[in-house]
């Protein structure tokens, strides 16, 4: 489920997998290389993640047409397996963030019986239209993660 309140994106999804596994799938570069994608027509490219507070990440998604989308940022909070927060911007298309260069992604992982509830809040967008694009992106990304975890 996703909601948007002006320029803040919120997405929540439950996964039928233990919390450590979901956290690692979201943050560990070796696991990200297996699935990082926002839709079925994308696959992971080069993925580099220095998972520690102050560490940086740079993650590529490559479309079927060969287009590369590169997201990057810096970790602000790293608390395995509960929470991770990081800045977010696009190296490949800075205009996609027009006026919102330093957005923040906060991801929380909650145990829910034998599964895990993930909440993602992405804030700091300059325009609602940009937030809407990211809402679609995150919803698709959680869908791809679910496929990876079920595989």
């Amino acid at each position: 489920m996703a909601t948007r309140e002006g320029t803040v994106v919120r997405v929540q999804r439950r996964f039928a997998a233990p919390r450590e596994r979901v956290f690692d799938a979201w943050t560990n570069e070796d696991v990200l290389r297996e699935w990082w994608s926002a839709m079925p027509s994308m696959r992971p490219g080069t993925i580099e993640v220095d998972l520690r507070e102050g560490g940086r990440y740079r993650m590529e998604m490559v479309t079927d047409e060969g287009e590369t989308h590169i997201a990057l940022g810096e970790f602000r909070e790293v608390r395995r397996p509960e929470r991770v927060a990081y800045t977010w911007s696009w190296e490949s298309n800075p205009d996609a963030m027009a006026g919102s260069s330093d957005t923040l992604v906060e991801v929380d992982f909650f145990e829910d019986g034998d599964g895990t509830i993930v909440t993602l809040v992405h804030s700091g967008f300059a325009a609602e239209q940009i937030a809407e694009l990211h809402e679609h992106g995150w919803t698709g990304t959680l869908e791809e993660l679910a496929k990876h975890l079920n595989a």
Binding site: M1, E5, V8, R10, Q12, R14, R79, E82, R83, E106, D108, F109, F110, E111, D112, I117, T119, V121
Partner: protein, 113 residues
């Protein structure tokens, strides 16, 4: 009592206190620490603990603990049972009003059917 009735009890119990509704309204904007979710709420810490337990038992919130920080989130599927219970009764009444409208549209001459 079957488990679905018990779940309904827990759901409506969760909604039946202003402090708990305040917490849920705040969490609707995203996960928050216990402090953030209960800021300005004039109840003691033990009372807050009790309210959070009611919400957790009902499955409408989840929590994780980082040291001394307890972070809460709304469990968006948590009130599904309560919603469908309400929906069921709303649709019964909507169906009744549809029947009344049909009756009135016919000029109300046909009596009850």
């Amino acid at each position: 009592m079957n488990s679905s009735a018990a779940q309904l009890d827990r759901s409506f119990l969760a909604l039946s206190h202003p402090v708990r509704r305040t917490i849920l309204e705040r969490l609707a904007h995203g996960p928050a620490t216990v402090g953030e979710a209960t800021r300005g709420v004039a109840v003691s810490k033990p009372a807050v603990t009790k309210h959070l337990r009611v919400l957790e038992d009902a499955g409408v919130i989840v929590r994780h603990v980082e040291g001394r920080i307890h972070r809460l989130a709304l469990r968006v599927d948590g009130l599904v049972d309560a919603e469908s219970w309400l929906d069921e009764y709303r649709s019964l009444w909507e169906a009744k009003f549809d029947a009344v409208e049909r009756h009135l549209a016919k000029g109300g001459k046909d009596g009850d059917t």
